[in-house]
Symmetry: C2
Subunit: 194 residues, 2 copies
Amino acid sequence: MVARGRYAKGVAKREEILQVALDVVAEVGYRKASNREIAARVGLTQPGLMHYFGSREELYMEVLRARDERDLGEFMDPDPSFAGFLSIIEHNVSVPGLVRLFVEFSAEATMVGHPAHEYFVERYAWARGVLTGVIDRAQKSGELGATLDPKIAVDIVLAAADGLQVQWLLDPEVDMVERLSRLWDGIRLASRRD
Amino acid sequence: MVARGRYAKGVAKREEILQVALDVVAEVGYRKASNREIAARVGLTQPGLMHYFGSREELYMEVLRARDERDLGEFMDPDPSFAGFLSIIEHNVSVPGLVRLFVEFSAEATMVGHPAHEYFVERYAWARGVLTGVIDRAQKSGELGATLDPKIAVDIVLAAADGLQVQWLLDPEVDMVERLSRLWDGIRLASRRD
């Protein structure tokens, strides 16, 4: 029972750290979010903080993993659709700290050898898989024409969604959901014309 | 003559610093590119380096300004076209250090209050202006249908180009030029169907 209580406390502490890390990113940006600040807010020393996650990068990968898992379950389950994808984007508008974390962290991790490089390579492969499922279903239902090359469409939708995040962070008036809906309309129209 | 010689030397030194800063970003990424390393490579102290640019951010804004000016002159002059835009993207493949700098620096500068925030807000307004010109000409020539909303198309092309840079940095097999050509084909087809 004692061990169990200690384990539960450890889990709660991890959750608390993930939340605080996200708060700090939302306030000062990813680059300036320091382990010192996060440790202070959760009442730990820096080595104490690293006991939970091993490294700064591991901590932020964990934040993003938890987000993807939740988004997938909430918006893409059981049938991934473009409407579900748009719901994720719409939800993102309410969590600018997460969007900022993703944009800054992925940018930095493009560097080969970066501790999160492999994580992002795999994360993009995963996102491509999810969107390939969306397009595959839309082609089977006839919403998209059969001549559309899914690989190209997936890369473009993913790229547009990423790029719009930067535009939106710079100018919150940019409506990511509307832009992506219009892109989807265009893909639909073009897919029936080839 | 002495003053003139000193001025010319100052200009040459600035050029040298810009080039070395770019080399260092290409090697270790923007985040880890330190003033110390750059100063050492150009034979200056850190305060000596800052004498030329005032701040780390000013130095990198200058690198990007010089790039945009060159690209615009080389690929978009006198008549901005989508082919010219694709030539810039194709050129980018040969300068990954610049692409990395743009991706990392713009991500970080989305934060309000960041020293380069205003620079990127203005840079996006500028890029939108250039692309609006491209689309306007294509509509006038009949390449694009008249019902296309230029504002939406501009944001999507810009976003796709930005997002593809991240995909390409993570995986150099991603062909940015081909993806953007296909996006343009799709915009063209869709613009004639509304």
